[in-house]
């Protein structure tokens, strides 16, 4: 069974609601898209996200390569969810795959530790390559800069690129160009059923909810139970 596309998901959801009709449809296309993306967001979060590799070129961090030893770089990407691995590399095309002679992985530390090291350089040893990094989200009022990061590395060294692997932020479906959710096959079905669960009360078919809920996969069911239990009752031991 392949991962369902947006059309297949909406068909599955509307079938479960007994509302898959072209004549007087109970939901508009825009409403269906919103409900499906709501459900997709939950399933995507449970699924754990995916991993993306990028080079340290100017499309990722600026400047590229580094030109000073202050160890501060400005992020260009706006879809970084969580950085998993970051390297200091002498190769502009590396995605962290060029070997230990070219790529040097940095440890993630708090920004305060990096600031302390910068202020007390004489007290710590000297290094020829960066060893640690921290990322912070920039405060901005410019729309285009929302979600851009600031990268601090220590020690700062000129002439290096910083490729990374990261978990991207959630990208919703749009029914035209982004039509396949980034989840596995069972989870793509869960998106349909969770969307149907949300839509059922709005068309007076709440009685269908238990039957629809039974079709959600066990993994998603358990994750949602634990989450709602924590949110509503503060219990996290399920």
């Amino acid at each position: 069974m392949a991962v369902l596309t947006y059309t297949e998901i909406t068909d599955l959801a509307l079938d479960a609601l007994q509302a898959n009709t072209a004549t007087n449809p109970p939901f508009t296309a825009a409403e269906i898209l919103r409900d499906v993306n709501d459900a997709y967001r939950m399933v995507w979060e449970i699924s754990g996200g995916s991993i993306k590799s990028v080079t340290g070129a100017a499309t990722t961090w600026l400047p590229a390569p580094t030109t000073t030893t202050d160890g501060r770089l400005a992020g260009v990407l706006t879809d970084v969810g969580e950085i998993l691995h970051l390297w200091a590399s002498t190769d502009a095309t590396s995605i962290g795959d060029k070997g230990a002679a070219v790529d040097f992985e940095l440890d993630r530390r708090e920004l305060s530790e990096i600031q302390w090291n910068r202020s007390n350089a004489a007290a710590v040893g000297s290094y020829a390559k960066p060893k640690i990094y921290a990322v912070t989200r920039k405060d901005t009022q410019t729309e285009a800069d929302i979600n851009k990061l600031r990268l601090d590395v220590w020690p700062g060294v000129a002439g290096l690129y910083f490729p990374m692997e990261y978990v991207p932020q959630f990208t919703p479906l749009n029914s035209t160009t982004i039509v396949t959710p980034l989840v596995n096959d069972l989870e793509s079905s869960d998106i349909a059923y969770l969307a149907a669960l949300a839509m059922a009360p709005r068309i007076g078919r709440a009685e269908l909810a238990p039957a629809i809920g039974m079709k959600v996969s066990e993994k998603t069911q358990k994750s949602l139970e634990r989450r709602f239990s924590a949110l509503l009752e503060g219990k996290q031991d399920r």
Binding site: L84, H85, G125, K129, I132
Partner: protein
């Protein structure tokens, strides 16, 4: 034998289960500081490393004082022998008090071929010396010395090497790993899947290895004396 400090750092990180770059407990700086500090501790316990320098310094004609050569990184550990190149003789080492007793009553230096010498350390750790009798002619001297190893932090820590034997390196790794873990709470150790008992075990193993290393060096340099462990 010399091993990169970065290699020793990696071995220690594996020992303390700190080999996940996303969730480090100690950080590179803290581990390296611990390695450098324990290296100096071990260097302090072990016999000093030796070096022989030909024509290391010259005592001027008519003079009886000299200064041992210094560098910014090396410090003398204690053993010093000098050899007069003109005659191939080793003046015997005496205390400053003995030399002063011999010089008593001579307003100017008695000159000849030096047969004894004394040393003293000044505030900036430079070693000054005096020979007796003073030098009738300029005397070039060979120097045999024991030194304290240079502080590893004086060099780039990515390229510096740790000059210890295999046994010494293992002792350094055990000692540093146990010190790092000693700074963690029991809860933090459990999170890392480390039994707290391993801290004392590694520290004890490090001490035993250092004793063996000391014995090994003594075996190399002595002539058949029996080793006895004094707890």
């Amino acid at each position: 034998m010399a091993t990169l400090l970065s290699t020793i750092r990696g071995r220690i990180r594996v020992m303390v289960n700190d080999d996940d770059s996303r969730r480090t407990s100690f950080g590179v700086v803290k581990i390296d500081e611990a390695i450098c500090r324990n290296f100096m501790t071990i260097a302090g316990k072990l016999p000093g490393v030796h070096a022989e320098v030909a024509s290391a310094f010259t005592i001027a004609a008519g003079g009886d004082t000299f200064a041992l050569p210094t560098t910014t990184t090396a410090q003398y550990k204690g053993e010093v022998r000098i050899r007069l190149r003109n005659y191939g003789i080793f003046p015997q080492k005496r205390t400053v008090d003995e030399l002063d007793a011999i010089r008593y009553g001579n307003p100017s230096a008695v000159l000849g071929i030096p047969s004894i010498f004394a040393l003293w350390e000044e505030a900036d750790q430079t070693l000054q010396g005096r020979v007796w009798p003073g030098c009738r002619i300029a005397e070039a001297c060979d120097l045999f010395k024991s030194v304290v190893p240079a502080d590893l932090r004086d060099t780039d820590l990515d390229t510096v090497t740790v000059s210890l034997s295999r046994i010494g390196e293992t002792a350094l790794e055990l000692k540093t790993a146990s010190e790092l873990l000693l700074g963690l709470s029991d809860d933090a150790l459990k999170l890392r899947d480390i039994n707290p008992n391993v801290v004392k075990k590694w520290a004890t193993e490090a001490d035993e290895l250092l004793y063996k290393e000391e014995a090994r060096i003594h075996d190399l340099e002595t002539a058949g004396y029996t080793q006895r462990r004094v707890p």
